[in-house]
Amino acid sequence: MNLAAGLLLQTHPIPAPSTPQIVVVAVVYFTVCGGIATWAARRTRTSDDFFVAGPGIGLWTMTLAAMAATLSGFIFIGGPGLLYSVGIGALFISLSASITTPLSAWALARRMRLLREVRQVVTVPDAVGARYRSRAAQGVCAVAILIATLGYVATNLLALGLVLEAIFSVTLGAGVLIGAAIVLGYSATGGIMAGVYTDVFQGTIKAVASVLVFVVVLRSGGGLGNISRTILAQDPGFLAPWGKLTPLAALSFFLLFGLGTLGQPHVISKYYMLKDPGQLRWYPLLMTGVLLLTLLLFFGIGLGVKAGVLSGAMAPLRHPDDATPAFLLQRTPPWLAAIVFSGIAAAVMGTVNAFLSVAAAAVTHDLPVALGRPVANELLVGRLSTVAIGVLATALALKSGVLVALLGIFGWGLFASTLVPSLALGLNWPGATRAGAIASMSVGLAVTLVFETLNWMKVYSFPAGVTASGLALVLSLLTFFFVSWLTRDSAAADLDADVRMVMEA
């Protein structure tokens, strides 16, 4: 499997942590989330409320919602497991976190927010359509997003089932169904409005719990220096500059997860939502801060468990993904373990909600607009689409493990290769053309689907460190520039005057 995409999937059962404390905290946690979602659902009266949180949200709300959408359950389970398994090389996934938000803010924030002001855009494909004056570009973008999000929703529902299976000692199928019912309940009624406000609660808990867990890691390991010396003495390769990865693989992680952030529709669409665009000034500072605080759990548990196992203080793990559950159950107070376990479920639910919103918008808004048949009642159709996509994803998660995993690995490459050139660069370069954008998105779509499928079927595999997602991103960038250059005479005609004004504002 393509490591860059495959590591985002959670398919390994989590050790059962089901204790009365964990069950009670989980029930309280979900009840609070349910209460917030119900409150938000009552405020959802229009399609704007449903897709872009209506009249807008404040800076802190946007920051925490963006953080919750960015950091899925992977940061709590798969990330520490990967770090435990391959060493420092795994950190290259998150090392770019200190650069990506300022990068995204410079490239996208102001222009997307102003585009919302002058065109009333509600989705990311809307912005692509407006930029290139093209319904076809909007349609291709929507198709790519729909394919990617369907896989992401299905894989995240499967992950949610695994978490709920562990917390409540139910079967995996029941876990998937319970999780899907909860997320669909608040997503279909409250849309992104419910998601944003539950994300504020969940994001705060995630950041605070991560800092507390990191403190426990340091105390139980005798400090970071002691942890490092324990590892250096027995497994020095773990603390080598690339860990146990090749330099190419580690650097591919850095570039893909750094530049690819510019193409994550569930995160960048939050720029539409900020009520006062002047507050964008402080967004990178706040977002980078909460991202780094929350990533402490990823870093701390990965190193702490490795040192604990090497020193004999912890039993060897059956599977790398057991790192977080094992540490929480063996080394942290029960109340903290309970909060983190609930936080993992909440993190997955927040991600599912964000993706459902993006996918429902593609079905309800972007594809009909691209076909020239806009929907009259977008709120109603949006709710129905959310349910339909959720039910389809649930069925995929329950019935077809192989297909779910295949769909899941399309996600990252599709987002990055279709949106980074056409949107992040296109909104900053008047020389980009409609033909360049459509060709670039088509190449990104085709290369990702073909090579990920061939890789999955073991027909063709790239050399170690080369990923289909990375290749798709590079080829779509080259196509974007080359075709835009070939069709440069049409650049001015492909850019409406009001959109040009936004790009220059």
Partner: protein, 119 residues
């Protein structure tokens, strides 16, 4: 690959900042900072010798990993968001300016509607 990653990230940031009306000098400083941090942060560990169990630690980490974690992972978090806050232009983002922007956009669109249809 190190140079390529550094160049792509720095160039994208420079493009976005320049298009946002930031002057060339501050943009060059920010892009240069990103370029140097990534190139040096990933390049220096390649050139340095491997640590042993008795090697000195930097804030609890072996030198080469410390350069990556604190140099690439933490240092930009102290510099780039503050640079953004300082260089960010808030003009044109108040309610009055936004209303004017909407009015001008409506005027421009009215002219466009007389042109070729969307494809």
């Amino acid at each position: 690959m190190i140079a390529g990653s550094a160049l792509v990230m720095a160039a994208t940031m420079a493009l976005g900042a320049l298009r946002s009306g930031v002057r060339t000098g501050p943009v060059a400083l920010m892009a240069g900072f990103v370029l140097i941090v990534i190139a040096a942060g990933f390049g220096a560990p390649v050139l340095l010798p491997a640590e042993t169990v008795n090697s000195p630690l930097i804030l609890g980490l072996p030198l080469r990993v410390a350069i990556e974690v604190f140099g690439v992972g933490v240092l930009p978090a102290l510099v780039l968001p503050l640079s953004f806050a300082v260089a960010f232009r808030a003009d044109g983002l108040d309610d009055g300016s936004l209303a004017e922007l909407r009015r001008r956009a409506t005027e421009l669109r009215a002219r466009v509607e007389a042109g070729p249809d969307h494809r």
